[in-house]
Symmetry: C2
Subunit: 435 residues, 2 copies
Amino acid sequence: MLTHKEILELRKQFIGPSFSISYREPLHILRAEGQYLFDDHGNRYLDAVNNISHVGHCHPRVIAAAEKQARLLNTNARYLHDSIVHYAQDLTGTFPDGLDVCYFTNSGSESNDLALRMARLFTGSRESIVLNGAYHGHTAALIEISPYKFDGPAGAGAPEYVHVIPMPDPYRGRFRGNDQETSTQYAGLIQDAIENIKNNGKQVALFIAEAIMGCGGQVIFPQSFLQQAFELVKKASGICIADEVQIGFGRVGTHFWGFETCGAIPDIVTVGKSMGNGHPLSAVITRKEIANAFDNGMEYFNSFGGNPVSCTIGQAVLDVVRDEHLQENALEVGSYLLDLLKEVKKKHPIIGDVRGQGLFLGVELIKDHDDLIPAGDDADLTVNMMKDEGILLSSDGPDHNVLKIKPPLVFTKDNALELAETLDKVLNQDNFRID
Amino acid sequence: MLTHKEILELRKQFIGPSFSISYREPLHILRAEGQYLFDDHGNRYLDAVNNISHVGHCHPRVIAAAEKQARLLNTNARYLHDSIVHYAQDLTGTFPDGLDVCYFTNSGSESNDLALRMARLFTGSRESIVLNGAYHGHTAALIEISPYKFDGPAGAGAPEYVHVIPMPDPYRGRFRGNDQETSTQYAGLIQDAIENIKNNGKQVALFIAEAIMGCGGQVIFPQSFLQQAFELVKKASGICIADEVQIGFGRVGTHFWGFETCGAIPDIVTVGKSMGNGHPLSAVITRKEIANAFDNGMEYFNSFGGNPVSCTIGQAVLDVVRDEHLQENALEVGSYLLDLLKEVKKKHPIIGDVRGQGLFLGVELIKDHDDLIPAGDDADLTVNMMKDEGILLSSDGPDHNVLKIKPPLVFTKDNALELAETLDKVLNQDNFRID
């Protein structure tokens, strides 16, 4: 086994430097189980951040299904196989009627990139409406529609065809609060963008959004914003894309998909991350009309997408989510944790806001309560101190001042209590006193 | 188990129609081993087409390595782990000095898209030189630099920033033959493109090419073309990208990488497909200078890229290629098969050309020997008849008239003989007589 120093030196030598490592003192993790990670000293960490390990790290049922299929067959989807159609049928069954057609891919980025191609082809346009702070993936085309990237460090700014709407953030957005009026105000900005596009003699291609913004900082929209926004974009013949890569598969608790919590019906849904519990698996789900338009003679082929091992793993994850009632657990434990965090907030003025749904929660740290000055450095320090206490979190948002909580869905109430108590303890340090 | 009809109906209902299925009567494959696939009737097929299953289908050593790691840990690359640095060190060791830095991704498309981003950033330009007939992946940005797609059915043509060079095809290209003069003639077209870009006041960003064209129809370039082309592009401060997704990891026999057969040194290499023997695994390898320029403040993160299971699988594939001497086998069996196919060509005027290197071979079918009219329909018929005889091939190339041979590298001389004899038998049918 290599030492930390050796691994870091080899990474420096052989791995692209743009891959960042978590924590000031990185962790050398050797094994994992459920919601726990174990490092090279045998220390146990409570994992409150790895949403990819959706049904728990190293879930035996998922691993067993993968092994069985890997020993039999793993070819591309150009041959007939039961696994792809069973899984596609089961997966589409979790969506509202009409979202019936699947494309299997290998990452959320591949899915969002494909969704982009579909929407552009269907509308004959590239004009895209996006939310400020949003991240939709790392391909060249996705960086161009991700303000998180193009307005972040070394970003090139928004291309001409991209129209950025202020983040509909009830806490620190242009309009504040969670009522109908705020929703309508933000929806008005969508309408402005649509009209702006029209006035330039163009057609809106798409509006893409996560129903709860992930990299944007665990932002829950004013209640009817997304529904109104989708209706306006559809009325203008644009395509509405729900990016469920971070939040899908029961994480939000009350529903299986994030967009359902908003009463919004997308034309295209993209899923990934949690879908394969760590296996590179993702998909695009859309309506027949859009799928048929995309079937214009140019084949879409994906070397690994829809292969029997990937589909078998996806099926096992779906089965486990249902059989272990993980959506229900996300609701119960998530609600409990949210209440606990609200209590912690009362004791610590550095906490400006606590928010989220199910097991997708955020704790926003601020320097003061008048101007809501973001406390990004404190968030970073908190994440590192929590790690030293054995609990893994991350920070994100445009100002990197939001603690992200998105654990495997097997997280328990005891885990929630431990997290809240530890956060309380860490924030009791002198460092975090604000005026 | 579902019937063919049931699977086809469910695919029609739930799977995107742009995924095509192989063969007029599709195969329902249930299991695989080495170079053999077995269908729902227990029929055995000799697999001469699945290059992804590089070390043989369901290789026990690769599966065992994957299982062992999957039971321990599968998290993202933000923690320290031995597997990623060991694998990166071993993988970069197979490249010429200077190609030292890895980025792990989940598909050849993700790799080429990332390579594109790097080259654009490094040069501050998008001006791209590509070969006609080339395919580099399915993302929005890659479709725009893939003539196979943008000039194929429903293609939108070349964007302004893409400069297409005629395919350097010694058999039916603008210049014919395999000598120094032909190489220089094609290289001259690269120089023309560079000057054209300069005359428009722009800078060349990149030239991307496979050393042997895959979708282009198993085209081997005139001997020094690629070397000359890379030199010219580098002289103009452009980035040379070698797309090794289809041909890498010892397949070409004489060398581990295709570009090595041409004496050409790329700035960036992209690999995929065979890298994980079916597991979604791919990479970009480049020089430190380019990696450092790409590390400009904008993070590149990939959810699954470089995770311990993916790296462990990649390492196992690399180990098996070496321990089972599969590069040497590709050379020996490939050369033997090429000779056999040349004998078959003598008997069948429908075969216009037989070519390739190692176990990446092509048989081009034509309607006549004067005008080289492509026999795409005959290639399709041949592929289907070969399938009925128990041997799996595909057809490709701009005219779909090239039989592609790219089997798992465990292919034996007996397999080669069976393939050649069966092709001879199939072409003996009346259907294939040409004038």
